[in-house]
Subunit: 229 residues, 2 copies
């Protein structure tokens, strides 16, 4: 009796849940009805609802907390996502990842220097400070905040996806190849260019920063894979 949409039942339920999130203007963290409730609401059984929720969970559109409930996640409104299914990856791909950032991020830095707000600048400053103080991972947060300061959420999502993808491989690589000091100095320089609204300078600093990262990555790959190639 149900409307014969396209695709399976689970897909239609997923679309329905998403539609409800949109119509009721639910925000991230808000709770959804229980699985059983959704099941009878859509005229299907719990396992089918679970399939639909798994599909939405893959893109972080919903979050399932065992024993608690189903909640809205931040992935519902994104246009581009990192692949949540990390297949082990060839070293060559890590290099492609860095080169993609080298192609994209300088322009973003330029946009950030032009369109940043005071609040975004503050968050960027905090990222620089935090990394200097704590001596932790550093890079990830800085580059995310830089992308956020561009004012374009889609660009932020792209950079966020590139930084998230293959995070573990990147971490393993960077652990042995980079001295953090230079990273921090370069980050600070980029920050200052953004603060002073100097697009060209921010762009160029970001380009050299990532070019060095690429060179280090390539060098590391040579020494790592050189023996069996």
């Amino acid at each position: 009796m149900a409307s014969e949409g396209s695709g399976g039942l689970a897909e239609r339920v997923a679309a329905g849940v998403l539609q409800e999130i949109d119509e009721r203007n639910l925000a991230v963290g808000d709770g959804l009805p229980t699985v059983r409730n959704l099941a009878e609401r859509f005229g299907v059984t719990p396992p089918t609802v679970r399939e639909a929720l798994r599909r939405l969970q893959a893109t972080d559109a919903v979050r399932l907390r065992h024993g608690s409930g189903v909640y809205v996640g931040p992935g519902a409104w994104r246009t581009v996502l990192p692949n949540p299914n990390s297949v082990p990856v060839r070293g060559e791909q890590v290099l492609h990842l860095v080169e993609a950032r080298l192609a994209i991020e300088p322009g973003i830095a330029g946009l950030a220097a032009r369109h940043r707000t005071e609040e975004q600048l503050g968050r960027l400053a905090e990222a620089v400070e935090h990394a200097t103080r704590e001596r932790v991972p550093a890079g990830r947060n800085f580059h995310r905040e830089l992308a956020a300061a561009s004012g374009n959420p889609v660009l932020f999502e792209v950079i966020d996806s590139l930084l998230t993808a293959r995070r573990e491989e990147q971490r393993a690589l960077r652990r042995r190849i980079r001295d953090r000091g230079r990273d921090h100095d370069q980050h600070r320089a980029i920050f200052e260019a953004v603060r002073d609204r100097s697009p060209a300078e921010a762009e160029e600093l970001t380009r050299t920063h990532l070019a060095e990262l690429r060179a280090d990555t390539a060098a590391s790959l040579d020494t790592t894979e050189g023996k069996h190639r």
Copy 2:
């Protein structure tokens, strides 16, 4: 009895399936074991396997064909994906989408002019010709081939994601605002710059091409939403 990994059973099964795809060097289109087979192999029941497969289906890592079997999809090795759950979107986001492309694609055109192979050039030429001949959507294929010619699969995935996301909204917009003739001329000009290995020219032509698209999109949004804002 199973190893207490992290997350639910379905998540572990999904990881296991993915691992098997990787270990057995399966290619896109290859068939996977049946649901029942996978179920007993992982020591779970069919519904749980189905949940895992739904999760993988969301990113196009596997494809389920009713009555036939489960097959490997192209999404298993991607690093960035378009959001498969299209929530209706505000017009402002469409503008952000175009502006993101404006920030990213010129650099890609430059890379394509530098690193293109003859085969990639041929595919790009075919995209231009096909659009001119058939008078069909055009843009999508051209920009995809252009990104492919950059030689960086990650950049291709980024552009592909931006073109896929909100495809219907973009189509609806472009239908009324663009005369295809100018699009084709500009595409052809970009193609010639790539063919002649002129990075700077390819970059600049792409920039103006997308800048015009952005302007048209912005104008269209004004007339569309102007009345109720």
